[in-house]
């Protein structure tokens, strides 16, 4: 019974959130804050991707920022060097990121637990080094600038939608974020999601009960890379300038913090904390210097005191409320 109430509450909450998100540009009425929400959307997509591999399948893969970077550079370079449309470069860069995700998976999935994390961190570092040092391709530390915004969409007879303004970019990224969340939720509640969760719980039992573990882990790597690739492409064409620093291991840690504090595997939790950790450092400007310092400390604190993150805290609060509710019903003789 409570699960039904819970999912109804979640549905209502999602609709309300979506309405607020659509009205947001007019509510905020500030380009500065709108830009933060655009970045929040990109961070959500990125964190949702990490959530598939870490939250669902239980694998701490640390090449995420590298894959994000591959999506960003691939998209920017495809558009700038070959002149193809952003709308082709976006799926193409997701596919390229997926390819690298698969490659990293094939090499590192022979390892378990901590070893796997280290091998993927290594790949992340290698990717970063390549961004930094392959100057003829990426322009190195000098950053790759002048990335064009997404090509206008021409609606026959109705004019066209351009993406020169913040507000149109906001809606593009909102659409991508909503789509990502829906895809993620559908995967989570499907046969595939169950298979991934069973691997997280006990991979020997999962394999014996008919779940081809290697294939699903690889799938998790690839899916997570697709999300990172899409986020990267959107990011490149939104900020129009990218540099290796943005795809450092630190960015993986930021995504990791978003997933862990939201609650491993929880899609609403990850969305909430992604928004929070995008806005917080900007709102508390004076604390900017302490951002990574506090992120590091927070990771430890959450692991010790709140291992199930925001979602776990909400679940616990909910249980307490339900318990009190039941008790008061008994007391008033309505049960």
């Amino acid at each position: 019974m409570t699960t039904k109430v819970q999912s109804a509450a979640l549905a209502v909450l999602s609709v309300v959130t979506l309405c607020v998100a659509i009205a947001l540009p007019w509510i905020l009425n500030s380009n500065y804050y709108l830009q933060l929400f655009v970045l929040a959307g990109i961070n959500i997509i990125l964190a949702l991707g990490l959530n598939i591999v870490l939250g669902f399948a239980g694998l701490l893969a640390l090449a995420h920022a590298g894959l994000f970077g591959i999506g960003a550079y691939a998209s920017a370079l495809l558009v700038m060097r070959t002149g193809i449309s952003f709308w082709i470069a976006l799926p193409a860069s997701a596919a390229i990121a997926a390819l690298f995700g698969a490659l990293i998976g094939i090499c590192s999935l022979r390892l378990r637990g901590h070893y796997l994390s280290i091998a993927t961190a290594g790949f992340g570092i290698i990717i970063y080094q390549v961004f930094l040092n392959w100057i003829s391709l990426t322009n190195g530390a000098a950053a790759l600038g002048d990335i064009p915004p997404p090509n206008p969409i021409v609606l026959p007879g109705l004019g066209s939608i351009t993406f020169e303004t913040r507000i149109s970019m906001y809606f593009l990224i909102l659409a991508a974020t909503v789509l990502s969340a829906v895809v993620c939720a559908r995967i989570r509640h499907s046969r595939i999601g169950d298979a991934l969760l069973s691997i997280r719980e006990d991979e020997v039992a999962a394999e014996v009960m008919g779940v081809p573990v290697f294939r699903y882990k690889l799938l998790a790597f690839v899916l997570s890379a697709v999300f990172a690739g899409v986020a990267g492409s959107l990011y490149a064409h939104y900020t129009r300038i990218i540099a290796p620093e943005m795809f450092h291991l630190f960015e993986t840690v930021t995504s990791l913090l978003m997933v862990v504090s939201g609650g491993l595997g929880s899609i609403p939790g990850v969305i909430v904390t992604s928004i929070f950790f995008t806005l917080a450092p900007e709102v508390m400007r004076e604390l900017q210097d302490y951002r990574m310092l506090s992120y590091g400390a927070l990771l430890v604190i959450i692991m010790i005191f709140l291992p199930e993150g925001l979602a776990g805290a909400v679940r616990q609060a909910w249980r307490r409320v339900a318990y009190l509710f039941e008790r008061s019903k008994v007391r008033h003789g309505t049960a």
Binding site: L249, L293, V300
Partner: protein, 292 residues
């Protein structure tokens, strides 16, 4: 030409000895807690800074500075174990790993705030002192690094194999519960392991600091290389770790002949991945099958 190659070999041996010492500290902690500690790199960084401050600010002699770095790093390790890792002893496997990544990021940024991101030169009297060994010449500092590291490797091997502390460590690593039944205080053994492992990282930092440039982020490349060495060497094998450490040092050193210097740091991972593709359990470990 031979001279050049010999110089490369020597410099490979020096770096290899540093990798080995750092990796041994890492593998000790892994053996006992099954934790790959990302913050080990920051302990190394802290060791280098401790040594630097003792020498540059307090004006003590270099050997005393190194000793101070050892103590400081051991203390840091003990504090980290008590604050961050002990509360997670019974948590799921990934929790301490994520926490150690958090500690690592925390310490890097703490160092940046305390000591500024500006790179520093750690000057010792031995850096500019050149010694002639046969046809090759190298700085006294490098000779010291190599000798101290080799001594430490041998000492560690003896401690683990011969002393009662070493026996307790091996017992706890094999089966913590059984060790507790035998009257071994596993908390103390774990603390001692953290202290020794961290001391090894600290001494490595204080030794190579003068050859490199100090920065709050100097722990990142070394930790990843130490990880690679530990995995290549095979779980828990001291001999394997030593061999893998020197192989990596020498390969990197000769790598300058074939690849651009910017990519030298990636050699560790190329070697690691190659090893994994051929032998997923490392070069030396026996194939272990999970008990079902």
């Amino acid at each position: 030409m031979t001279e050049y190659l010999l110089t490369l070999l020597m410099s490979g041996l020096v770096t290899g000895s540093v990798y080995t010492v750092t990796a041994l500290g890492l593998t000790m902690v892994y053996g006992i807690l099954n934790l790959m500690n990302f913050a080990h790199g920051e302990t190394y960084m802290a060791g280098a800074y401790f040594g630097y401050f003792l020498l540059a600010i307090f004006g003590v002699s270099y050997p005393i500075a190194v000793l101070g770095a050892i103590l400081g790093a051991a203390l840091l390790g003990v504090v980290l174990e008590m604050v961050a890792f002990r509360p997670l002893r019974n948590a799921p496997q990934l929790s301490p790993l994520i926490a150690s990544l958090g500690v690592s990021i925390f310490l890097q940024n703490l160092a940046m705030l305390l000591w500024s991101p500006t790179p520093r030169m750690f000057q010792t009297p031995y850096v500019d002192q050149i010694v002639q060994i046969g046809v090759i010449s190298m700085s006294m500092q490098r000779v010291i690094v190599f000798i101290v590291c080799v001594v430490l490797i041998v000492a560690l091997y003896l401690v683990v194999q011969r002393t009662s502390l070493g026996k307790s460590m091996r017992a706890v690593a094999l089966d913590a519960e059984a060790a507790a039944l035998m009257g071994i205080d596993s908390r103390m053994v774990i603390l001692a392991t953290f202290a020794i492992g961290s001391a090894l990282a600290g001494v490595a930092g204080a030794l190579v600091g003068p050859i490199l440039i100090l920065s709050p982020f100097m722990g990142v490349p070394i930790i990843l290389k130490a990880f690679a060495v530990v995995i290549m060497g095979g779980f828990g094998s001291i001999q394997g770790t030593v061999l893998a450490g020197f192989v990596l040092g020498i390969t990197e050193s000769f790598g300058v002949l074939v690849i651009p210097t910017a990519y030298i740091d990636t050699i560790a991972f190329v070697l690691l991945i190659a090893t994994l593709l051929v032998r997923p359990t490392g070069l030396f470990a026996e194939r272990v099958e999970e008990n079902v």
